[in-house]
Symmetry: none
Subunit: 192 residues, 4 copies
DNA sequence: GATGAATGAGCCTTCATTCAT
DNA sequence: GATGAATGAAGGCTCATTCAT
């Protein structure tokens, strides 16, 4: 039964014991292995199920919108709403194989924060210099980190896109250029 | 010796055996444990070291730039360059605790792709409808996924930012609004 | 279906899984267990069947011979012919419960060889010393080992014959004495 | 510790549990696995040890004999004495991987007996017909079975000797021809 | 009689960690 | 400080057998 979802979400893949999953079910160990040939396959089945369901729900909500840009907005909103409401689902789908309790998670946060702070700081200054439009730079910095992270992971696993040649130009375009304050009239001072 | 880095990068945290780390060193098991009280601490030490070094390098390159917006650009470029050149470093820093060899990674990619495709498709249509500026929608979709992912992971681990109330507006602003094609002449015609 | 014979022959008793036997049949698991109450009984049924058939065939061929000594010769010939032609049958009947793939079999061969070599060596010398008639000492040594082995296994399982008091004299008689070169002219010469 | 010998001898390879071997030792499970990487390797180590020791003892006793034929006799005697005195050793060395308690052993005996009886019966008649010298035909039949068995097992595992072309002539020579009653004076009746 | 999903005790093996030397 | 043999809890998985349908 897919209430194995609970154990995986609570403990992470590695610390989840088949024995515990079984204990929380009415199924026996053998019964579980009859349907899923290994712990890995069980985990994948759970992930697939949840992943597909999430996408399906988003698609349902999207369908009502006429224009693509509205659909994108709804998709974004729905994703954050759904995952933001169900912590367990989010944990399962987003951090999957992590484990080691909280220590690991803290460390990840700590390390990513090093880079995020650097970005945030410069975003703040760029806003102050009136180079880019004002935004919540903290969140923007997370966005930067997440974007870079994802692009690199893709490359790591699939070999594409090439980080520098392909991804970099696009990231620049979206993260920097389109955030620029239109400096059309370079007359007069800056609005500091 | 931090050549434990190699083992962690190759096998992931869980599948890395202390025995193998020791085997690749001149240090003995006891010796290793004298310096690092546990596998977890050893791993953290490696991560810290690498994370800090990466940030330091980026900071060095940034320092030469005057304007913050240039610094941001250099930071972005440098991050992608450095990590794009050293697969191992990237793997260690980005996918850390994952494991299960490639099966796991493939699954992650597969599941994220479901959502990414949905975004990409609608980005394509939005471009076609002339709602947003043309971009490489494939990469843009990765950016979306990464951004959402990171924002949610932060919330998961630290409790902030609130996905819907805090993150959503900013994401909309950066991912959607600032990509809009200025529809200045709303006169006449129809944008159907 | 006694095509369970195939699985037992290929994998040995322990490594043969009921599931695989079932898979190779049109019968269902329950169906198999209806006819044979346990794996052991199924195995015994197969063995019985094959053992009896082998003996029956030998008896048929023997029947045509008049003199007992010719019958013995035909029995010997037939046994080697039939088993030498059907590897699977031989494996099933002779090494039955062994398993562990080839590693085990290699080990058995290796260990028995230690003793066989010792015998072979001395048979060679005995032939050289003209004490016994020339034979293929390699094969003779196998015969020795097999004879000793079988006599001891019998004793192990049934308590008789007593290895030293009963078996030894007979083995000596057949393996040694009757192989002696008749030293009829004991006159003169020296047997060194 | 090689007191694992006890468990293997008592239960057979498959039914011997590493847990029990450990229980009977002062060593821990991990400790055992530190020295022997697997159950199989442990078993082989035990077998090797015992096999070598047996051969060494026989060689010691043999060494005192001058003539090869005497050595053969001593080897035969010693082998039967040593193994006949130590049931456990015999079981370990001779039936190795068997298991299934006694049921299996009984079956083996039963099946081999089918063939052995056939031989015994004809040996009896051959003796009665005065074709071969009188022997304990029961034991001789075991010898036949053991010899055939061993020759075939060798062929099964190593591909040689070829049962019919190579082994058969030698077996005939030793088992039949050299047992023949010299029929030099074919005069007169038989001594029935 | 047949089916095959379910059972569950049991097994081998791993591995982070310890500690006597 | 270093060594590496030893520890032992824990875990994933197998498989002969059962039994409701």
């Amino acid at each position: 039964m897919e209430a194995a979802e609970a154990v995986f979400a609570e403990k992470g893949y590695h610390d989840a014991a088949m024995d515990e999953i079984v204990r929380r079910t009415s199924v026996s160990k053998g019964g579980l292995y009859f349907h899923f040939p290994s712990k890995e396959r069980l985990f994948f089945a759970v992930m697939d199920h949840l992943g597909r369901r999430l996408v399906r729900r988003i698609e349902e909500r999207i369908a009502r919108q006429e224009r693509a840009i509205d659909r994108l907005e709804v998709a974004l909103t729905t994703a954050l709403e759904l995952l933001g409401r169900r912590r367990r689902l989010a944990k399962l789908l987003l951090v999957q194989g992590y484990s080691m309790g909280n220590a690991f998670e803290q460390k990840r946060t700590e390390i990513y924060s090093g880079f995020a702070s650097l970005i945030e700081e410069n975003l703040d200054r760029a806003v102050a210099e009136n180079s880019i439009r004002p935004v919540n730079t903290r969140i923007a910095s997370y966005l930067w980190v997440g974007a870079i992270n994802e692009v690199l992971i893709r490359w790591l696993y699939t070999g594409s896109p090439d980080p520098v040649r392909e991804a970099l130009p696009e990231l620049k375009k979206i993260l920097l250029e389109s955030q620029r304050v239109p400096q059309d009239s370079l007359v007069g001072g800056e609005q500091s």
